[in-house]
């Protein structure tokens, strides 16, 4: 029966005709993907780039067609692999830089930080409690200072005189201003690593993140106590504020992100755990990319600004300006106007 049908149409199966008409498109798509694999996106001409999504859609539609009319396993496997390769390219992380930047700075980052506000408040509270505890412990018994600050004191210990302490707040012993940028880069890389760890440790039920945040507060409290005791409290606060408002803010966001994933691992809420974790990861990932940006800025303030701006009032002014800017940005950027709705962007 089927044979005689085949004879009428030039002895060809439907699946063969289908293949003949579409094969050119598939080959073209495959060639372009090879090219991208070999030498990157830039090797494609503008026309090719515009064509690529069309070829991808045609391959995907060929696949669903082939699955319902062809029993040629090689053909179906080929189309699956081809569509999968094209899919990875089309829906990969690489989009136009302009869209990426707009999505991130206007829609992504501030919104993510706002959604983390409860965790952020908790992290802030942890630091404040740590600060008070650190101060109180040292005020009660100065020998706590060595225990609490220990290795990172860098000469700012109990035996140091007020003059020594004042010196650590000054320009430092950098031999030339040319060496300031490397110092800034060092601080930025170091702090970013700490922030990433602080965030990732949240996966262990948030406990290490909590410990790390608390300890930051404790050592800060202890140091402020030390300087305040020698009458240098204001100068030290100024020294800390110029970069600290940005840096500590960033670390608080990292800690908040860590708390968020820790919470979602334990209490996924109304969603399935899988969906809850995926949502939490994307939200915190966005916030953390922002943290890296903030720490780069903080590194510049700490490495360059703090060494060149020596007046305490100017230092505090810079620090508070940054803090205000951050707060304004996180509070108001990317808010949808009333009536626009908060539905998903298309």
């Amino acid at each position: 029966m089927d044979r005689s049908n085949g004879a009428k149409s030039g002895l060809q199966l439907k699946s063969q005709k289908f293949r003949e008409t579409r094969e050119g498109d598939w080959k073209a798509l495959s060639r372009q993907l090879d090219k991208v694999d070999r030498s990157g996106l830039k090797s494609l001409s503008a026309e090719d780039l515009l064509n690529l999504p069309l070829l991808y859609r045609s391959a995907v539609s060929s696949l669903s067609m082939a699955q319902s009319i062809s029993l040629d396993r090689n053909l179906v496997t080929y189309l699956q692999a081809l569509s999968a390769r094209a899919y990875i390219f089309i829906y990969g992380p690489q989009t136009r830089l302009k869209t990426v930047l707009k999505d991130f700075f206007i829609d992504g980052w501030p919104v993510a930080v706002r959604r983390l506000r409860k965790e952020l408040a908790f992290a802030f509270l942890t630091v404040v409690v740590g600060f008070i505890v650190g101060w109180a412990m040292c005020a009660h018994d100065p020998s706590w200072y060595d225990v609490l600050v220990g290795g990172q004191s860098q000469g700012r210990d109990l035996s140091a005189s007020a003059k020594d302490l004042a010196k650590t707040l000054g320009k430092g012993d950098v031999p030339s201003n040319a060496m300031l940028p490397p110092f800034a880069v060092f601080l930025m890389t170091h702090n970013t690593r700490v922030a990433i760890s602080c965030f990732a440790f949240g996966a262990v039920f948030g406990l290490p993140t909590f410990a790390l945040t608390l300890y930051t507060g404790v050592s800060m409290g202890a140091m402020v106590w030390l300087f305040a005791q020698k009458g240098l409290g204001f100068a030290f606060a100024a020294w800390l504020t110029i970069h600290g408002t940005t840096e500590i803010f960033a670390l608080l966001i990292a800690a908040a992100a860590g708390f968020h994933i820790g919470m979602k691992i334990m209490f996924p809420g109304a969603q399935t755990r899988k969906a809850a974790l995926a949502d939490a990861g994307r939200l915190t990932g966005t916030a953390m990319i922002g943290v890296a940006i903030m720490l780069t800025i903080a590194g510049c303030w700490e490495g360059i600004g703090r060494q060149t701006i020596l007046d305490p009032w100017a230092r505090i002014g810079c620090g508070l300006t940054m803090l205000t800017l951050w707060c304004l940005y996180f509070t108001f950027a990317g808010r949808k106007a009333k009536g626009e709705g908060d539905g998903e962007k298309t």
Binding site: V60, A84, Y91, A178, P182, L277, T284
Partner: protein, 321 residues
């Protein structure tokens, strides 16, 4: 009675040669934004460990090479207190490089234009979003930041505590092994970072489009035709036959041709020169069977394998008058 075990044997023989590379691998259906279901082959645990090892070797070896280069360069003259600018550029470069290696390697390569680290590229692995949506930079950041808890921190703890012979090292070791083996204990073979970022790692073989095996004109001219009763196999057997024909191993083709001939009561032409070779016979049979099955498919009556009897098929069930 005696026929049934024989039929099973044929099936086993046919299947024994069915070495579809990914037949045994687990497949994940992902719905693309266009609403098409795309099957992705999950990356095996071994492949992922392999890719990670390649990346770790790069991470360890590259800094060593850079250090050697830095030491080999004639830099001593720079420390005389006059070349601060050069020194600072060099220092920035070195620090940025080590930071990249330690914290940015995985993220940068996965966000980059090739969308995979060198290790993943070598083993043809790619990262996709589990729900079929776009893979975002945030997801990539999270999945790789989690390596801190999954890999770097436990390893650091193990090393430092083992030196002090502390029991804490053993806890860190158990933690690390538990997290590293996590992909073995869930259906998606995802690690912690994958769960948190909603990503999955898949294997991307590059499939080649081979020629179409069906050439009906040639079969017709060879005079090989089959009755509908003789086309007694289903889609699974058709695929096995396709595999046999694409691999073209003479011994296998001979064995398969003989099995089929026995099963369908094939009558060889009387003259020896008219008898088709095994390959000709199999290709003709494949073409006829595919035409038959695809014809049924178009009518919505698919036949999975030879044991699948279609109740609605009048030819099979009609009471004989």
């Amino acid at each position: 009675m005696a026929k049934k075990p024989k039929a099973d044997k044929v099936r086993r023989d046919l299947m024994a040669d069915a070495a579809w590379g990914d037949g045994a691998r687990s497949v994940m259906q992902v719905t693309t934004p266009e609403g098409v279901q795309l099957p992705f082959v999950r990356a095996s645990f071994g492949e992922r460990v392999g890719a990670l090892l390649i990346d770790l070797i790069i991470i360890i070896v590259l800094p060593v090479i850079v250090m050697i280069l830095l030491l080999a360069m004639p830099l001593r003259g720079l420390f005389d207190g006059k070349h601060y600018t050069t020194l600072s550029i060099l220092a920035i470069f070195a620090m940025a490089f080590f930071f990249f290696i330690r914290s940015g390697y995985f993220m940068a390569f996965e966000m980059g234009r090739r969308a995979a680290t060198p290790g993943k590229r070598a083993l043809k692995l790619r990262v996709i979003a589990h729900d079929g949506g776009r893979l975002t930079p945030a997801a990539i950041f999270t999945r790789n930041a989690m390596r801190e808890v999954e890999l770097f921190l436990p390893v650091t703890l193990i090393v430092s505590f083992m030196q002090h012979k502390s029991w804490f090292g053993w806890i860190a070791a158990i933690w690390a092994i538990g997290l590293v083996l996590l992909p073995l204990f869930n259906r998606d073979q995802a690690r912690l970072g994958d769960f948190l970022a909603g990503t999955r790692v898949v294997h991307m073989p590059k499939a080649m489009l081979s020629y179409d095996l069906v050439d009906m004109e040639l079969d017709r001219s060879n005079g090989l035709t089959f009755t509908q009763e003789q086309l007694a196999y289903g889609e699974m057997e058709l695929q096995v036959l396709e595999q046999v024909l694409r691999e073209r191993k003479p011994a296998v083709m001979r064995a398969v041709a003989e099995r089929i001939k026995t099963r369908i009561d094939w009558r060889e032409p009387l003259r020896i020169e008219d008898r088709p070779s095994d390959e000709h016979f199999l290709r003709a049979y494949y073409g006829a069977l595919r035409a038959h099955l695809e014809g049924r498919m178009l009518l919505g009556r698919r036949r999975k394998d030879k044991h699948d009897t279609d109740r609605r098929d009048p030819a099979a069930n009609a009471p004989k008058a």
